[in-house]
Symmetry: C2
Subunit: 496 residues, 2 copies
Amino acid sequence: SLVMQESRLAGLFNPESVAVVGVSRVAQPTGGTAQFVMRLQAAGFPGPIYPINPQASTILGLKAYPNLRAVPQPVGLVIIGVPAPDVPPVLEECLQIGATNVHLYTAGFKETGRKEGIRLEKQIKDIAARGRLNLVGPNCMGLYVPAKKLISFGALPEGSGNVAFLSQSGGLAEDYSQYARSLDIRFSKIVSFGNGCVLDATDFLEYLAGDPETRIVGMYLEGIKDGRRFTALVREVNRRKPVVVWKGGLTASGSRAVSSHTGSLAGAEAVWNAFFEQTGAIQAGSLVEMAGVTKSLLHLPPPRGRRLALWGSGGGSSVALADACAREGLEVPVLRRRTRQELQSYVPIAGSSVRNPLDATTSLRDSELAGRTLHLLNRDSSVDLIVVNRNVGNHPEEQEHLKGLIDEVIGFCRQNHKVKPLAVALGSPSQDIPQQSRRLALSNQLARAGVPVFDSVELAARALSKWVGYYEFQRLQRGAGLLGQARLRHPSRVAS
Amino acid sequence: SLVMQESRLAGLFNPESVAVVGVSRVAQPTGGTAQFVMRLQAAGFPGPIYPINPQASTILGLKAYPNLRAVPQPVGLVIIGVPAPDVPPVLEECLQIGATNVHLYTAGFKETGRKEGIRLEKQIKDIAARGRLNLVGPNCMGLYVPAKKLISFGALPEGSGNVAFLSQSGGLAEDYSQYARSLDIRFSKIVSFGNGCVLDATDFLEYLAGDPETRIVGMYLEGIKDGRRFTALVREVNRRKPVVVWKGGLTASGSRAVSSHTGSLAGAEAVWNAFFEQTGAIQAGSLVEMAGVTKSLLHLPPPRGRRLALWGSGGGSSVALADACAREGLEVPVLRRRTRQELQSYVPIAGSSVRNPLDATTSLRDSELAGRTLHLLNRDSSVDLIVVNRNVGNHPEEQEHLKGLIDEVIGFCRQNHKVKPLAVALGSPSQDIPQQSRRLALSNQLARAGVPVFDSVELAARALSKWVGYYEFQRLQRGAGLLGQARLRHPSRVAS
């Protein structure tokens, strides 16, 4: 196995204490290093927190220390937020007191494109190598470990889960912690690692591969130091723990932005296309896609194929949805004759369609018919996946229907492995605030019940197509693996 | 000119009275033909409304008539909602009383794929031809003419405007009327024409070409009867009145759904690609795209090119946005040295970028700096378009900043033709209801001020790229037109 160093980073994610170097005496509501002390306090971090500031005796109710050497106990994690030129001496101090885990928040290194920044990044890299530091950063927001109440950024978690997220962007890590919470996705670990000049995605993935709390790994990447090692590792990990990768900077404009952001080398699109082909990692292009695939991986039974039954209302909408699904690589086959006949017993011929998309307003407005429809689609052998699409309108009666429909859907999905994978698209073409509030409330209800829910069929189809692709790749690999073995045996037989 | 029949449809859009045939005595809140009477009443249609029902004397407070012949006055528009087999005799009655304008709501014709439906559609087509009926439908929601208070569907309008929408889908016409209202797009006419078996998009476009109230034409199309005539007409109209076309059913699955929906022949994707290339019509793929392009056409000064300055906050977000813009065909050039130098006077080097995307949180948080930034981007000769991107967060202080920023942006855009085209992307990665409500309130404020506003930079870039493409095509055509004339003159000179 390529996964050798499970334990090297264990302390980083479970420090007994945290020192924060460079804490300003007046806490600023946004930014500043005081934020790290405040967040640890808000999260209820159980160990001691040591603010380091030579001009203060107390910060945020805690005893402050003039420097790291003055701290009387071992320091499990050092968060550094002093200006870039002052970082090297602080790192030397870490080496002196034997602190090996460092989150370097400070920016102003290689990503500035300036000589001084590039020189400084080289210098911290050298110090880290000499002291074998587990250095996260620079230019990053650090760690988010809900189970250990170790929180440097993002929404205060409501419990921990088994999804990990590695991000070269602190902003996107923050955004994802907020967004995922509203979708009921919970995290084992989030790491915002910025320039990744010492530890990078490969190192963190190695750790997560052996982390029993992590089942799914998402990443936002800008560059990779060792592409070969990373590719081999992702390929291996992805077999057991799905890896979802959003690679930023694949266009020329994006690539230039990557260099201004984390000083990384974005790499050519062709190289990354080959990476996805070889590893079977799931490619995402936004947090919405990342979350959509993750919800599907978490909650849906494995799919048998990519043939979708689309159940909604409205002819134009059916055409648009069929187009959208086809463009995302899902099939929308005609339903079996028997299914169509049974549907026709309660779906009128005029103004509806029982082929697929199933355009059948009546069936969505009556709980009993909705249940029957789900049963028929579930039984149809031409269908692998079900998507229910419903706009959230403003009519009070429609809202009652919608509640009934959602209860039926949740009841259906509760049977889990006995039924086909199902997702819901809840759209609304209006920007009306009460209407959108109702949509979000229903969406959150579905998310809490473990039903993947999307803002549109397009987004549902995109996520489901990528999700099915994961299983197809793994099945193909297992097939190829056996074939590979057969081929190996064959020549040896000939030789014997 | 190809536009010959301006007047033929004039009466259809301005009837002095409306008869509704097949009104049920008990009004149903959704569906049923009584809805048409109720909507005309709610909109305040000024002429008489005649409910036609042989079993009732009064319907919804109006005197009911047993049939069309019993109506004592001329009937400007007949809305028909009787079952499909009963439609032909009602059409014959229209001929008898000299009523030429018909909205045929009834479904159950060619789109069912059944012999009887196909036969009936042929029959109504023949009657319409014999009586030279202006027949809208069948299988459609009909007309939406705010200025005449003639409303068969959709949101009750808040005034009229100069955008027309032609739709083969009643659901999408309804959705667009709702959605556009929240974006402050107002309509001259919406026509939901379903199967389009008599009048189709070509006929309506011909009318709109000569309609002084219409400046922009949007369409949702499934099929076209006479492709050559339609293509020539769109090409001509598009020069004066931008034509935005969403063609449904371009995939195999979508094409099958088209046949179940309006019985149309969807046509091959290659044919439609050629249509867009020849006409310069703007292609949309959803109502969101249609609305985005329309807002840009309505409110922005014509662009000089497709070089975009992206102003936002967050390095990862900048990379993602640059990628998104590049994929949509917009350039994100490095800002001029002078601009970068001036920006650098208030944008810190660490954690920011003044190249492009401009990643500068400080400049977004201070109204004065925001104004200065807009001025610098406006002055930069490498920039044709400006997009401001801001996530709506939950922090009270951030909300204050955001209000200040939006006031600056609105003030900037008020200078209209003196400044570069600008759009705003207001995203929020959360499904949190209060946060989304705040986002929508800000979004609606911008829309009311005439600033195109989008839910994400991706959507902004897609709409702006299509919008710029419109002007590029027209410029190229004018150039080619001159060249074409030169070529024509040339041979004649040689011959003389």
